[in-house]
Structures are given as structure tokens and as C-alpha cells.
């Protein structure tokens, strides 16, 4: 059982949750969105600077649990420099990973640390919230989105 906990809260996750990368506003953002996990009320805002079909810069702000902060932090690292068209595919693989423990197509290695989430169904929304929010930002949705 403590194995499950070690799987969930891997060192990488704890590290990113304590020292999130790209944390803060992004003044030059072209896209942004707010996401909220209705189960806990935690909110985060995601900022993206898109140029020429590519994510040139990305950052996030907000409060949340270790899982959501680490997920947001790793999301920023993953998206940095990527073609926009890859984001939805990444979201879908990430969704499979956190709900079933594995993705169908290979995911960037650093995201694999979230495989342990699937044994904690009540925490799936925490891990996926930043990804939901990223999609909303790319769609330019104005209303805060929730994971429901």
C-alpha cells in the first residue's frame, strides 16, 4: 500500500510540486485559460505564447495539491517548443495514462511519472486539470473550465 503512495508521489512529482517550473504570469501570452477542479475548488491559470503554430512560452499560476502542481509544472516543460497540433494528442494519452496506468502511444518520458495516479481515482482530476486547461486556452475559451 505504501508502494502505491510511492508510485503516486514519486520524487519527480514531489520535486515539481515544491519547485514548480514556469510558475507565474506570462506577460507576452497570446492564449490563456482558467481551470478549476470542482471536487476541491482548486484553480489554476495557464498562459501560452503561440507563435507560428508553436508553443514559444508557457507558464501557470494558482493553488492546488502536489499532483496538480507537478502536473502543471511538467506540462509546461513538455509543451515548451512543441507544435500546437500535438497538444490534443498528448492530452489524450495523458488521460489514458492517469485513468488506466498506461498510454496507448508513447508519451514524453517525464510524463510517465503520472502512471501511479490511476490507483487513486479521486486524484485523476488533479493530474488532468492542467491539460484540460491547456486545451481550453488553445480554444480561447473565456469561461473558467472545470474537469466535469
Amino acid at each position: 500500500m505504501l508502494d502505491d503512495l510511492n508510485d503516486l508521489y514519486q520524487q519527480v512529482i514531489l520535486d515539481h510540486s515544491r519547485n514548480p517550473r514556469h510558475f507565474g504570469k506570462l506577460p507576452e501570452a497570446t492564449h490563456s485559460a482558467q481551470g478549476r477542479n470542482p471536487l476541491c475548488g482548486d484553480e489554476l491559470t495557464l498562459y501560452l505564447k503561440i507563435n507560428d503554430g508553436r508553443v514559444e512560452a508557457v507558464s501557470f499560476e494558482g493553488s492546488g495539491c502536489a499532483i496538480s502542481r507537478a502536473s502543471a509544472s511538467l506540462l509546461t516543460e513538455t509543451l515548451q517548443g512543441r507544435p500546437v497540433e500535438e497538444v490534443r494528442g498528448l492530452f489524450e494519452e495523458m488521460h489514458k495514462l492517469v485513468t488506466h496506468g498506461r498510454s496507448e502511444k508513447p508519451l514524453p518520458e517525464k510524463l510517465a511519472v503520472f502512471a501511479g495516479v490511476h490507483k487513486f481515482p479521486s486524484r485523476v482530476k488533479c493530474a488532468i486539470l492542467p491539460w484540460h486547461t491547456a486545451l481550453a486556452a488553445l480554444d480561447n475559451r473565456k469561461e473558467p473550465i472545470t474537469t466535469e
Binding site: 500500500m1 505504501l2 502505491d4 503512495l5 503516486l8 508521489y9 514531489l14 515544491r18 471536487l39 476541491c40 475548488g41 482548486d42 493553488s63 492546488g64 495539491c65 502536489a66 499532483i67 487513486f120 479521486s122 486524484r123 488533479c126
Partner: protein, 429 residues
């Protein structure tokens, strides 16, 4: 024919036993769910403020009803239907006696405390609340004793006023109560025990002050009814709401206590079968209370289960339950101070701290705490506890909460402390 609520025989019997402290180890045998392991660890169930476990007496009462007496109630004149009606109305009488209501007709069965408050907020306001009037609440209310009044106020053109919660201990500001209990306030609704802070409010005193000024009172007893002796006539309240599932009873059943005069004067809320007197295509008239407020086939088995639950609690003795919880809370409050970085909310001593203890680590999110200790077998609740305005006031997004009941032990309080220490070490807080 009004049936007088009979004298509290069983309660008296236990007054002798009340001298003895309650032995949770013995009581645990009545609650099979407590014997299970989760994630390979013995379950330490500390989410009693959300819902309690049910004793076998309740589970078997429900089963027995379905196996033997199952039929619809009222207007039936065959044997089974008669037995079902008797069982349902006996549950009402037992609930009335549990609260020392003047008569069973003052008990309306609802789904839960939330529905009880919705009923009062709708029907009382429909008749007694008008433009310019105000309803007084407190800043520590559960959403269920806040949002229904927002809706009622909006419908009536009335407004809401709030008694502030003061200090780090989370007590009601009694000076402000005095100042606020005057026109245009028509009704004062407050929680007896806060589910988010654990604070026991001085309910009798609050009702007395309101009554002096002709203001109607509603006591949200969701967190108190199964935890301490409760007597609506001693409290002097006009309405009181409770949930069965928070006092050893089944889900899907709660009760609104209301004074008969009010029930007579209030229009019905839900309408349909069972609650009418005469119906034509164009209009209808109503049965007398309590039926006026119970539309459709009621939760008969649920009421039977609630009756068994209040019997169970009277047999144990609520005085003893209360004492046990206070002692356990005092012990836990004391031990929780050992945990570095833990911030405790609510009163520092028990009483006025009842058995629900809210806390958080400065650097670990409440949900991470709850997930972590769950794998150690400890069931806590994390979140805003349906008290978002209070959380905002406390300046935290969420807290973790441990809440005790009659079957919890010191060992379980110790297990909580141990689990929190381990959490702290793991997250390096």
C-alpha cells in the same frame, strides 16, 4: 387525535448507566463496517461528521421491515399496510420523543437535513417573509443552511445578515448577535455545531435572545442531534433540522421539527399524493400536519431505520456519547499539537470544541494529506466542508478534518497522530 409524545423511559433507564463512561471497544461490535481493513490496514473511520456508520440494530430493522411488514402506508386497510403504517408512525413518535417535541405531528420526515431546511425556508418564507425583511445567519453555516435562505430571500425581496465568526477559535461574536437580533430580522437560522470548526454554539442562549425579540429560530442540528442530549423545548427553538445518516440511521431520511402553530400556518411545499385533503381539477386543500408536508410515498423503511437509530442512541445514552466525544476530542487536540507544522482550527478546548477537528499543514495540501493517510487506513475528509464562505474567512482553500463518534477510541486518535507524523515526514514538511 394528537398523540402525546410519551415520556422518555429508555433515556431515564440509562441515566443510571450514565455514571459509567462509555466503552467504545464494546460498542464497536455493534458496527460491522468498523471491523474491515482498507489497503491492508485496519480501518480508522474518522469521517463521522460526513456520515456515521450504522449499528446492526438499524441494518436489521430495515431488512426486517422489507422481509415482513413491507407495504405502503396510510389509506390501506389490510393487515400488511396497517403494520407498515404503524411502523412508520411509531418511528415518528420515537423521533418526537428523542427531541422531546410536544407531539409526533411536529416531526416532518424529509430526505436529510438539507431538505428539512429547504422545506422551512420555502414554506415559512412564503407565508412570513416579505420585502425589506431580513434573515440572520452566521458566517459558519454549512451551504445547506445558507443557500436555501439566499433563494428564499431572493423570492421574497428580503436580505441576509450574518453574525461574524471571530478570533482564531472560531466563535460567534455574541455582541453582534445582540445588535443584529432586531428588526428587520424575522428569522435566525444557525448551526448548533459547526462541521468545519467543531464549535458548539450556545444554542439555547441564541434561541432565548431571539425569542425575547419575537424572532423565529431554526437550529441546524445536523452535527449535534446524534452527539449530545437535545430537547427542543429546553432549547426553545421553532425549527430544528437533522439527518438520520449522521446519527447511526440510514441514508435518505431526515427530519424537520417545527412547532405546530407554524406548521398549521405554513403552506405546503411539495404536493401530490398523501398530503391532500380534497382535490378537484382546479384546486386542492391540505391534510393537517405532518402529512401536509409529506407528499408521495415516504421513505418508510428509512423512517423505521431512523427509529431504530434513535432507540439505539437512547439505549447507550446521549449524555455518555457526548462525554466520550469531548474526552476524545480533548485528548486528540492535545496530541495533535505534537505534529510540527500543523495548524488547528476551532476552539482550543473541548467543550466548546465538539468532535470534529479541522486542521492543515502549512505546506501540504489537504487532499494530499487525506490520500496519504487513507493508505494507512485512516479515513479523513479534506475540502471546504460545504462551508466556502468560512474557508475564505479562514484564508485557506481547504482543511483536513477528523471527526469522532461514540465508537472511536484513543488508539484511533493515536493512529491519526501517527499517520500525520508519517505524512509530514514523507512530504518533508
Amino acid at each position: 387525535m394528537r398523540e402525546q409524545a410519551t415520556k422518555r423511559g429508555s433515556e431515564e433507564q440509562t441515566n443510571k448507566a450514565a455514571a459509567e463512561a462509555l466503552r467504545p471497544e464494546a460498542i464497536r461490535k455493534d458496527f460491522p463496517a468498523l471491523g474491515q481493513t482498507v489497503h491492508g490496514r485496519p480501518l480508522v473511520y474518522l469521517d463521522n461528521a460526513a456520515t456515521t456508520q450504522r449499528p446492526l440494530a438499524v441494518i436489521e430493522a430495515i431488512r426486517g421491515f422489507y422481509l415482513r411488514d413491507n407495504a405502503n402506508v396510510h389509506r390501506g386497510s389490510y393487515d400488511l399496510s396497517h403494520r407498515a403504517t404503524e411502523a412508520y408512525e411509531a418511528a415518528r413518535a420515537r423521533t418526537a420523543r428523542f427531541l422531546n417535541a410536544a407531539e409526533p405531528a411536529e416531526i416532518i420526515f424529509t430526505r436529510n437535513a438539507t431538505e428539512a431546511i429547504n422545506l422551512a425556508a420555502f414554506s415559512w418564507s412564503e407565508r412570513f417573509l416579505g420585502p425589506g425583511d431580513a434573515i440572520l445567519l452566521t458566517e459558519m453555516e454549512h451551504h445547506s443552511n445558507l443557500v436555501p435562505w439566499q433563494m428564499a430571500a431572493r423570492r421574497a425581496g428580503a436580505r441576509l445578515l450574518f453574525v461574524p465568526v471571530t478570533g482564531p477559535e472560531g466563535l460567534l461574536d455574541m455582541d453582534r448577535v445582540q445588535a443584529l437580533l432586531r428588526p428587520p430580522v424575522k428569522l435566525f437560522a444557525f448551526t448548533h455545531v459547526s462541521n468545519a470548526l467543531g464549535t458548539i454554539n450556545p444554542a439555547a442562549e441564541l434561541c432565548r435572545l431571539a425569542r425575547q425579540r419575537g424572532i423565529v429560530t431554526l437550529v441546524d442540528a445536523a452535527q449535534s442531534a446524534g452527539h449530545m442530549p437535545l430537547d427542543v423545548r429546553e432549547l426553545g427553538c421553532d425549527f430544528l433540522a437533522l439527518s438520520g445518516h449522521k446519527l447511526c440511521g440510514p441514508t435518505g431520511i431526515g427530519a424537520l421539527y417545527a412547532k405546530r402553530e407554524l406548521l398549521e400556518a405554513m403552506p405546503p411545499w411539495q404536493t401530490g399524493g398523501e398530503m391532500i385533503d380534497q382535490v378537484t381539477l382546479d384546486q386542492s386543500s391540505w391534510a393537517p400536519p405532518p402529512h401536509k408536508f409529506e407528499a408521495g410515498t415516504p421513505n418508510i423503511a428509512g423512517a423505521v431505520g431512523l427509529g431504530a437509530a434513535v432507540d439505539y442512541l437512547e439505549r447507550i445514552g446521549r449524555e455518555r456519547v457526548f462525554r466520550h466525544e469531548l474526552e476524545l476530542t480533548a485528548y486528540a487536540l492535545d496530541r495533535l499539537k505534537e505534529v510540527k507544522g500543523l495548524r488547528l482550527f476551532g476552539p482550543k478546548t473541548a467543550p466548546p470544541h465538539a468532535g470534529a477537528i479541522s486542521f492543515c499543514f502549512e505546506t501540504i495540501h489537504a487532499h494530499d494529506v487525506v490520500t496519504f493517510v487513507d493508505r494507512l487506513g485512516v479515513a479523513l475528509r479534506g475540502g471546504h466542508h460545504c462551508a466556502q464562505p468560512l474557508m475564505r474567512k479562514l484564508g485557506v482553500p481547504a482543511t483536513a478534518r477528523a471527526s469522532f463518534y461514540l465508537y472511536n477510541t484513543r488508539q484511533e486518535a493515536d493512529a491519526l497522530v501517527e499517520a500525520l507524523q508519517e505524512t509530514r515526514r514523507f512530504f518533508g514538511a
